[in-house]
């Protein structure tokens, strides 16, 4: 209907005169722009709303240091599972008296690994990955990288595990 009106107003021999085209283009841009503004104004709060727990866990995983109370009493030759930020980690008190802490997330597919006291190795039950219990090196199986190592400081009442930057 609009087109008919315009046809009457403008020269019928040139229905798409330059003014006509630019007016249409202006209106189109305006409508698309307004739509984009609305989509943004509604989409942004909705995204932040749905993303809220992600933001919270990102904040939690940004932890640089964890203090484990009484972990200094860990028996020789055993290991302790703890949470470093949001992911599981291992603290091992080796038979030679040394302390090691590393991520317990397998570098292959993200399963949680465990310390095998008998074999003195770290193994992953999901796909058979094996890591060195002293260094975290990937020894056999599918894991492509060593486990992430942390710094360990043993105090009188606790153990402090720190991310190596």
């Amino acid at each position: 209907m609009k087109d008919e009106q315009e046809m009457v107003l403008t020269d019928p021999s040139s229905p798409s005169s330059p003014e006509d085209v630019s007016r249409r283009k202006f209106l189109q841009t305006g409508v698309f722009g307004a739509c984009a503004v609305y989509i943004g104004a509604i989409g942004y709060p909705v995204f932040r709303y749905l993303n809220s727990p992600v933001e919270a866990s990102q904040l939690a995983s940004a932890v640089k240091e964890v203090t484990l109370d009484k972990a200094n009493e860990l028996a020789v030759g055993t290991a302790l599972m703890f949470k470093f930020g949001t992911s599981p980690a291992l603290l091992i008190h080796h038979a030679d008296g040394s302390w090691v802490a590393m991520s317990a997330v397998c570098t292959h597919m993200g399963c949680t690994v465990k310390f095998d006291e008998g074999a003195k190795k770290i193994t992953c039950a999901c796909h058979g990955g094996v890591f060195d219990a002293a260094t975290g090196e990937n020894i056999s199986g599918p894991p492509p990288r060593p486990l992430e190592r942390y710094d360990v400081k043993v105090n009188d009442a606790n153990v402090v595990v720190t991310k190596i930057s």
Binding site: P45, V46, R48, Y49, L50, N51, S52, E55
Partner: protein
């Protein structure tokens, strides 16, 4: 060109020719009361906002013993949770308000007459379901106000002789409002009511498409050549969308400037707070219960008020049976007076509810 072929293919495969033909032929009467035609669309739009924000709230809401804590998290911890919740509340109120305006404008335009009776009946059912949506949703935060509102509300089924108390107990999941009640009301609010509402809404909208908008009697009296219309598509649809945009802005503004509050957690042992009253859409019933209770004290008064209300509702729903078509002007006038009386009673008792 490819897009055009795709469009043509889809139209053919989905059998859309009929719908396009219908939409192309459909017109909307143009007269000085055309404004009131928008209120059905406004109700529909605020309902759609309810659906979207309701789904978003379900992402974090936990019914049962954690209900209050989860709403507290939504309101104070989750990013923009307060806004989503506030929009849900404001659009719920806006929804019921526009449904009432829509219903009374349909009544005054006599749009319930032949052949539009099904539209009227389905509309009444949608209104009752809408009120149940409001009642069940109000409890979900489990704060002080919602707890007592539900406690009082459940006294209404409780007052029905013999069958009332077991019904109220079943709805509550106990003798008192508790965490089982929240769980049940949640299931009602998000599963059972939508399952009932959606098909009825489909029928209601189909009836509008089928019979079109009714013109008020003053227009009907004119010569057909004197009546003005506009095409439903695109003219009326474009105006409808414009109105929806205004409603969207209004609800967003209200939700952002007056965020919905969360009261203290419900304490089953605490006394009801002073001046407690229901939401405005239940205020009329509330005031009538109070007023009649003053004249006839005790259970008899309660029964009288509820009988009066039920009777009024039944009469209101059956209006198309009494005022069938334009041939009987005496009945038509009587119905009009009855309707005006109902509107006045509802308005005045609602107002009184806030004062007394």
């Amino acid at each position: 060109m490819k897009l055009e072929t795709l469009k043509a293919d889809l139209v053919e495969r989905l059998g859309l020719e009929e719908a396009i033909k219908l939409a192309g032929k459909k017109t909307v009467p143009v007269h000085k009361h055309t404004f009131w035609y928008f209120w059905g669309g406004i109700s529909l739009f605020s309902f759609l906002i309810q659906v979207v924000t309701g789904i978003l709230l379900m992402v974090y809401y936990r019914p049962g013993p954690e209900a209050y804590e989860s709403v507290r998290q939504i309101t104070y911890q989750i990013q923009f949770g307060w806004l989503i919740r506030s929009v849900h509340n404001w659009s719920a109120n806006f929804f019921l308000f526009s449904v009432f305006v829509h219903m009374f404008s349909v009544f005054l335009m006599k749009a319930y007459r032949r052949p539009r009776e099904v539209g009227w009946y389905s509309g009444i059912a949608l209104l009752l379901l809408g009120l149940t949506f409001g009642f069940s949703g109000y409890l979900l935060p489990m704060d002080e106000l919602s707890f007592f509102a539900t406690k009082v509300g459940m006294e209404i089924p409780n007052a029905i002789p013999i069958i009332g108390p077991p019904i109220a107990n079943l709805l509550r999941g106990g003798l008192e409002v508790n965490e089982f009640t929240v769980q049940r009301f949640f299931a009602l609010h998000v599963v059972i009511l939508p399952l009932l509402y959606m098909p009825l809404l489909g029928l209601h909208l189909w009836m509008v498409q089928k019979h079109g908008n009714a013109a008020p009697p003053s227009e009907e009296a004119k010569e057909p050549s004197q009546r003005k219309t506009m095409p439903f598509f695109p003219n009326f649809v474009a105006q409808d969308l414009g109105v929806w945009l205004i409603v969207l802005n209004l609800i967003s503004l209200l939700a952002a400037l007056f965020p919905w509050q969360l009261g203290p957690q419900a304490d089953p042992l605490a006394a009801a707070p002073e001046g407690i009253h229901p939401e405005w859409y239940f205020m009329s019933q509330f005031a009538m219960l109070k007023l009649i209770g003053r004249v006839i004290p005790g259970l008899a008064g309660e029964a009288a008020a509820m009988t009066l209300f039920t009777l009024g509702l039944v009469l209101w729903a059956l209006i198309p049976v009494f005022d069938k078509d334009k041939t009987n002007t005496k009945r038509s006038r009587q119905v009009l007076y009855f309707g005006i009386f109902v509107i006045l009673v509802l308005l005045s008792t609602t107002f009184m509810g806030f004062v007394i």
